[in-house]
C-alpha cells in the first residue's frame, strides 16, 4: 500500500496541511500536493473503474497522460467531471468523487462485464448491430446505457467565469522543462518577443527528478536561475499552468491557462483561452514513458517507473514498500535508485540479456538485485498488486517464479510528445534505436511563407539525454528568433555532462512469446479497456489501416487520446500484420492536446454577451408594453404585445382584428434598406431583380424579386425610385446584410467597371407601418404633407412632413389594408411612434407584432421568404411570373430558370389550402398521394408552407406547394398529422381576403 514518507518532497509544504474529501471520506494532504499524490499519501490506491469491464484501476502516471484517475470535482454550480487527479492541485476543501462505478467504488456490479469479457470483443458495438433487433432493444441497450460514459454531465449552470486573451509574439515556446527554458532564453537573448508556457505549476520538467547536472549545478538550481533570468527580460513573458492546446495554420496556437483551479477565487476568471499568433513555435513538450504489456498490467499499484520516482521525489509518497522495476532500458534504473534511497525494497527485472551501463552498475553497487533477461509473466492480486511472477523474457512465460510486491514500476522506453508538431501537418520519422516517432524537420508544418513554423526541441524532438536536450533547444530557440526577424545574438548554451547509456530493447509483448491467455490480460489502453488480443483480433478481421483499427477497437479514443497506448498499440498491430511499425504509421493527432473546459472555449460569450442584439429605436417601448420577443436575424421583434389577463394567441387575434377594423401600427424598422446609386444603377438593378427596375418612374414603388444565379428565389421587397440615378431597395429583415453582400459581390467581382454604389442604410431610418381603414385619418390629424388618394396613390411614395417629423411616406401594403409605411430618421423613431400612439388613441390604435403581420399577409396570399421559399423554390413555383420580366436579356437566375428541371410542369406550385373541418393544418405537413416510393415511404404530392388561424375568417388558412396545384382547384387532398391520421383540405386560391384589392387601394 502507498504511504507518505517521513522526509523529502520537493513540492510539498508539510507546515501547511490541507483537508479534502474522496467519495465523501475526509482525507489530508499538504500544500503542493496533487490530488493524486494526496490520495496515494493516504493509501488510496483504488481510484476508479475501467470503462468497459469496470475493472479496479489505480493511478498510473504523474501528469496529463494519466488514463485512470478521472474524478468528479466539486458540486452543483462548480461541478466538473473527468478531471485528472494527477493534474489537479490540492486545496483546502476540495471534493472529489471517483467515476464509473455502481453502486460503490469497492463493490461494483459492472465488474461482471469482466467475467463476460469474451462476449465483449473488439468491434463489439459494430458486431452487435448485426444481431436480431429484439436483442439490441431488450438485452444490449439497457446494459450499455447503464455502463456507458465516464463521469456525468453537470446539471447546473456554471458559476465560474472565463475569458479569452489574444497575443501576438515572435516566438511561442511550449513547455517549461529545461528544453523550453533554454529555447526561450536563447530566443529572448536574440531579441525576439517570446511567450513561454508550461502546463504544470512547476518549471524544469523531469530534469530535477532525474538528477541532471547543468552548468555544474543541480538541475533545480539551474532552473531557478534561468526562470529568474527570463522573468527579468522585458521581451519575454512566462506563464505556468498554461498548456499549449493546439497548433493551427499559419502560426496560430491555442493555450489554456488555469488561473484558479488550484486556489478557487470567484473574483477571477477560472480559465483563460489564449489565442496566439506566433512567427515561430518551439514545441519543447518533452516525452512520455510507455507502459509494458504483460498480464495484469492494469492492477492498482502498477505504474510508470517515471511516475514512481516523481511521487517519491516531488511529493515524498511511496507507491509501495516492495517495488519491482521492470525495464527495457537504462532509465528504469533511476527509479530503482530513487526508491532504494527512500528506504523501500526494490528488485530490477531487465528484459535485456545484459545491462552494464553506468546506471545499472550504480544500482548493483547500491546493493539492488538486478535480474537480466527477465520479464513479468503476470501480476496477481485482489484489486491490488500482491505478487509478481517473473519469467524468461524471450520465452512463453512458463515456469515463472514469484516475488512478493505491492508496486510494479514499468519502464518501457520514452515517446516524444509530438502532438503539437503534428496538429498542423508536421510529419514524423521512426527512430529505430529508441523505438519512437520523432518530428521530421524536412516535413514540418509550413507557414504562409512556405517555411516551417514549428520547431521541435529537446525530448519532444527525440533528444533524451540532458546535454543533447540543451544543445538542441538552444539551436531551436536561436533559429526561431532569427527566422521571426530578431537580429540579436543568443548567449551561450547551457552544458551538461554526457550521460552514457546502453541501447534500449523494444518490448511489445512480455514475455515475448506470451500465450493468448496472457495477452488477453495485457492492457494497451487503460481508459478504453483495449487489450493486446483486441488489436490482434482487429488485424485478423482485416483491419489493416491503423485508423480503422483505432475506431474498431477504440484504442486511443478515450480522453487521453492514447498518450500511453499509441506506440504499444501500433507495435502490436504491426506485429499482427507482420509489417514494419513505420509502415503501419500513426493515427492523426488532433487538438486539444489535453481536454480543455467548455467554459474556456466560450470565454465571455455567454448570456447577454453571447451575440449582439439589434434593437430598433422603439425597442424600450415594446419591452415595456408586453412584447413577446421573437429573434429575427440578430434583431428582436415583438411577436405580439400581450396585455394583462391575455395569452399570446388572444393578443395576436386582437391585433389582427383591430388593424383590419380600425388602425394598427407595426414597427417595420428592421426591414432592410439599401440605396443603389450611380450612372449605371438602372442597369445593375435590372440584373439584380427579375423585374424591370430601370424603367420604374421616379416617385413610384414596385414589388421586386431577387434570385440567385442558380435561379432560386432569394429575397423580395418593394423598390422605390428616389431620383434619376437612385433606387431604394427594401429587403426582408433577415436579408439586408446578405443582399447587401450579394450586390457588393457582383459589383466588385463581375461588373467592376459599372459605376454604382450600394449603401446599407437600414439602421439610419426608423420605419412604421400605419395600417387600417383609419390610417389616413390619423396622419391627417398629425398634419403636414398631403396623404390623400389623389396626392399619394397606392404604390407611390413622397417626401415631406408628418406632424413635426420629416418623413418618407410609402403607399405600400403587406396586409391588404390602406397602409402607409413611413420612414423617419432613426433618432426620431421613438418620438414619431409616441406621436402616432397619441393621435391614434381615438381610433383605438393597436401596435401589432410579427405574428399578426404574418397572418394578414397570408390572408392576402402574399409569400414570405423562408416560409414559401427554402432555397429550392423559383418564382414560377409561386405564381409570380408577372414579376419576371420577359423583355430583359439577362438577370441573375434567368439562364438557370431555363433548365429542364426548372421548367418541369410537375414542379410543386403555390395554392391556398382550406381544411374541410376548418381546423389549422399542421405546419410542415405533407400532402400524401397513392402508393409508396422505392424506399417504402408514402408518396407525397405537396407540402404546407404557411398555416395559421385566421381571426378575420375564424378558421384555419394555409398555403402550400402542390403538384399541378393551380390546375386542381376545388380538389380535396389529404395531409398527414404526426399522430398518423390525416386531415382533408381543399385546393383553393391563395388569396382568401379581399381578392380584388379594394381595401388597400382607397
Amino acid at each position: 500500500m502507498s504511504f507518505r514518507l517521513d522526509t523529502g518532497g520537493r513540492f510539498i509544504d508539510r507546515s501547511k496541511p490541507r483537508s479534502f474529501t474522496f467519495n465523501g471520506k475526509a482525507m489530508r494532504g499538504f500544500e503542493g500536493d496533487t490530488l493524486a499524490s494526496a490520495l496515494l499519501g493516504q493509501g488510496q490506491m483504488l481510484v476508479g473503474r475501467s470503462f468497459k469491464y469496470h475493472r479496479p484501476r489505480g493511478i498510473v502516471a504523474s501528469g496529463s497522460e494519466e488514463p485512470n484517475a478521472l474524478m468528479n470535482l466539486g458540486r452543483d454550480k462548480t461541478f466538473e467531471p473527468n478531471a485528472r487527479a494527477t493534474t489537479t492541485e490540492l486545496f483546502d476543501g476540495l471534493e472529489a468523487e471517483s467515476q464509473n462505478h455502481w453502486p460503490s467504488l469497492e463493490f461494483d456490479i459492472g465488474e461482471l462485464n469482466a467475467k463476460l469479457s469474451r462476449f465483449l470483443p473488439a468491434g463489439f458495438y459494430y458486431k452487435m448491430f448485426l444481431w436480431p433487433r429484439s436483442f439490441w432493444k431488450h438485452v444490449y441497450e439497457p446494459i450499455i446505457r447503464k455502463s456507458a460514459g465516464l463521469g456525468r454531465a453537470p446539471r447546473h449552470r456554471d458559476a465560474d467565469h472565463y475569458e479569452h486573451f489574444n497575443a501576438t509574439v515572435d516566438v511561442l515556446v511550449v513547455g517549461g522543462g529545461i528544453a523550453g527554458l533554454q529555447a526561450a532564453k536563447a530566443a529572448g537573448e536574440a531579441g525576439a518577443e517570446v511567450l513561454l508556457i508550461e502546463q504544470g505549476a512547476h518549471w524544469g520538467g523531469r530534469a530535477p527528478v532525474d538528477g541532471a547536472v547543468i552548468d555544474g549545478v543541480p538541475a533545480a538550481e539551474w532552473v531557478e536561475a534561468t526562470v529568474a533570468a527570463l522573468g527579468a527580460m522585458p521581451n519575454v513573458a512566462i506563464r505556468a499552468r498554461t498548456m499549449g492546446a493546439g497548433v493551427y495554420d499559419h502560426g496560430y496556437a491555442l493555450a489554456y491557462e488555469r488561473l484558479t483551479d488550484h486556489a478557487p477565487d470567484p473574483s477571477l476568471p477560472r480559465h483563460r483561452l489564449w489565442r496566439i499568433r506566433a512567427g515561430r513555435i518551439v514545441t519543447a513538450t518533452g516525452a512520455i514513458e510507455r507502459p509494458l504489456s504483460f498480464a495484469g498490467n492494469d492492477l492498482p499499484g502498477v505504474m510508470l517507473a517515471s511516475a514512481v520516482r516523481d511521487y517519491v521525489t516531488n511529493y515524498a509518497v511511496a507507491p509501495g514498500k516492495c517495488v519491482v522495476v521492470v525495464t527495457n532500458n537504462d532509465d528504469g534504473y533511476r527509479t530503482a535508485l530513487t526508491v532504494q534511497e527512500a528506504g523501500l525494497e526494490v528488485v530490477v527485472l531487465d528484459a535485456r540479456s545484459e545491462a552494464n551501463g553506468p546506471l545499472a552498475e550504480q544500482a548493483r553497487a547500491a546493493g539492488i538485485t538486478v535480474r537480466v533477461g527477465r520479464g513479468i509473466e503476470s501480476v496477481k492480486g485482489k484489486g491490488k498488486v500482491e505478487k509478481v511472477w517473473v519469467c524468461d523474457q524471450t520465452r512463453d512465460g512458463s515456469n515463472p517464479d514469484p516475488i512478493k510486491a505491492d508496486c510494479v514500476a514499468m519502464a518501457g522506453g520514452w515517446s516524444p510528445v509530438v502532438h503539437l508538431w503534428s496538429h498542423c501537418g508536421g510529419k514524423l520519422s521512426w527512430q529505430e534505436d529508441g523505438a519512437f516517432f520523432r518530428p521530421d524537420p524536412e516535413r514540418a508544418p509550413n507557414g504562409a511563407d512556405g517555411a516551417a513554423f514549428v520547431l521541435a526541441a529537446g525530448a519532444a524532438n527525440g533528444e533524451l539525454e540532458t546535454a543533447a536536450v540543451l544543445t538542441d533547444a538552444y539551436v531551436a530557440g536561436a533559429r526561431a528568433a532569427a527566422e521571426a526577424g530578431a537580429t540579436g545574438t543568443a548567449g551561450a548554451a547551457a552544458t551538461a555532462d554526457v550521460e552514457l547509456s546502453e541501447p534500449m530493447l523494444p518490448v511489445w509483448n512480455m514475455p515475448e512469446r506470451a500465450s493468448y491467455a496472457l495477452r488477453s490480460k495485457a492492457w494497451l489502453d487503460y481508459q478504453n479497456d483495449v487489450k493486446v488480443t483486441d488489436v490482434e483480433l482487429a488485424a485478423r478481421e482485416g483491419f489493416e489501416s491503423v485508423e480503422h483499427t483505432k475506431r474498431y477497437t477504440t484504442l486511443g479514443m478515450a480522453t487521453d487520446q492514447g498518450k500511453l497506448s499509441n506506440i504499444n498499440g501500433l507495435a502490436v498491430l504491426a506485429g499482427a500484420l507482420d509489417q514494419e511499425i513505420p509502415k503501419v504509421g500513426t493515427t492523426t493527432f488532433r487538438p486539444p492536446y489535453h481536454p480543455i473546459s467548455m467554459g474556456a472555449i466560450a470565454g465571455e460569450a455567454r448570456g447577454a454577451l453571447f451575440q449582439p442584439v439589434r434593437q430598433t429605436p422603439m425597442y424600450d417601448w415594446h419591452d415595456a408594453n408586453g412584447a413577446h420577443w421573437e429573434p429575427v436575424g440578430h434583431w428582436r421583434r415583438p411577436y405580439a404585445y400581450v396585455k394583462p389577463g391575455e395569452d399570446v394567441h388572444a393578443a395576436v387575434k386582437r391585433e389582427v382584428l383591430a388593424t383590419r377594423n380600425s388602425l394598427g401600427l407595426l414597427d417595420a424598422s428592421t426591414l432592410g434598406k439599401l440605396v443603389v446609386k450611380g450612372p449605371d444603377a438602372g442597369k445593375f438593378m435590372d440584373m439584380m431583380y427579375t423585374n424591370m427596375m430601370s424603367t420604374l418612374p421616379v416617385g413610384k414603388c414596385r414589388y421586386g424579386l431577387m434570385c440567385s444565379e442558380n435561379g432560386f428565389l432569394s429575397d423580395d421587397g418593394v423598390v422605390a425610385r428616389m431620383d434619376d440615378d437612385t433606387w431604394l431597395c427594401h429587403t426582408t429583415t433577415g436579408g439586408a446584410d446578405r443582399i447587401h453582400a450579394h450586390m457588393e459581390e457582383w459589383l466588385q467581382t463581375e461588373w467592376w467597371d459599372w459605376k454604382v454604389y450600394v449603401a446599407n442604410v437600414t439602421e439610419q431610418y426608423a420605419q412604421v407601418a400605419v395600417v387600417g381603414p383609419n390610417a389616413r385619418k390619423v396622419l391627417e390629424k398629425l398634419g403636414g404633407m398631403d396623404v390623400s388618394k389623389e396626392a399619394l396613390p397606392f404604390m407611390q411614395w413622397a417626401e415631406g412632413a408628418i406632424g413635426q417629423f420629416s418623413a418618407r411616406v410609402f403607399r405600400i401594403s403587406f396586409s391588404g389594408e390602406l397602409s402607409y409605411e413611413i420612414a423617419v430618421p432613426a433618432s426620431q423613431g421613438r418620438a414619431f411612434w409616441d406621436a402616432l400612439l397619441e393621435a391614434g388613441s381615438e381610433f383605438g390604435v393597436t401596435p401589432y407584432g410579427t405574428e399578426a403581420l404574418h397572418i394578414m399577409r397570408a390572408e392576402k396570399g402574399f409569400i414570405m421568404i423562408g416560409d414559401e421559399t427554402d432555397g429550392t423554390v423559383i418564382p414560377q413555383d409561386l405564381g409570380l411570373n408577372w414579376a419576371i420580366s420577359k423583355k430583359k436579356e439577362d438577370f441573375l437566375g434567368k439562364r438557370a430558370q431555363e433548365r429542364d428541371h426548372m421548367t418541369d410542369p410537375l414542379r410543386w406550385k403555390l395554392v391556398g389550402l382550406e381544411t374541410l373541418d376548418g381546423s389549422v393544418l399542421p405546419d410542415g405537413s405533407y400532402a400524401v398521394g397513392e402508393g409508396v416510393n422505392d424506399n417504402g415511404q408514402r408518396v407525397v404530392q405537396g407540402r404546407v408552407t404557411s398555416t395559421y388561424f385566421s381571426p378575420t375568417l375564424e378558421r384555419g388558412i394555409a398555403m402550400g406547394l402542390v403538384e399541378l396545384g393551380p390546375d386542381r382547384m376545388g380538389e380535396v387532398i389529404a395531409f398527414n398529422r404526426v399522430d398518423g391520421t390525416f386531415v382533408q383540405a381543399k385546393i383553393v386560391d391563395p388569396v382568401v381576403f379581399d381578392p380584388e384589392g379594394e381595401k388597400q387601394n382607397v
Partner: protein
C-alpha cells in the same frame, strides 16, 4: 487559421476577418449559353491538391473582394491581388513558378 494580406487596405487578415468565396476567375455564362457551358460555370469547380486560386472578401475590414493564390496542401500563400482581373497577374504567376516549377491550374501555367 490562415493569414491573407488584403491587397486593398494592406492588413494581414486573420481568417476570422475573411469570408471565403470559392474558386477565382470563373467566366459567367448567362442566357444564350449552352447547357454544358452553364453547368461548367455554375457547378464544376477545381479541387486541386496544390496551387489554387481563390476568392476572399475582407468582410470584417474594408469589405473588398480579392484573390489569393495559395497551395492547398502546404498552405503557402504565393500572393494576393485584385479581384478585378480576369486572370492572375504576372508577378503572382512568377512567384508560383519560383516555388512550384511546372504548376498547372485550368488553362494557366
Amino acid at each position: 487559421m490562415l493569414i491573407l494580406k488584403c491587397p486593398y487596405c494592406g492588413v494581414a487578415c486573420d481568417e476570422t476577418e475573411l469570408h471565403a468565396g470559392g474558386e477565382a476567375h470563373l467566366t459567367r455564362h448567362g442566357p444564350g449559353s449552352s447547357d454544358a457551358d452553364f453547368e461548367e460555370y455554375l457547378f464544376m469547380r477545381e479541387n486541386p491538391r496544390g496551387v489554387h486560386f481563390e476568392r476572399w472578401r475582407h468582410v470584417y475590414g474594408c469589405g473588398k473582394w480579392f484573390h489569393a493564390a495559395r497551395d492547398t496542401a502546404t498552405l503557402e500563400v504565393f500572393g494576393t491581388y485584385s479581384a478585378q482581373v480576369a486572370e492572375p497577374p504576372k508577378d503572382v504567376r512568377a512567384a508560383i513558378t519560383a516555388k512550384v516549377p511546372g504548376w498547372r491550374w485550368r488553362d494557366l501555367s
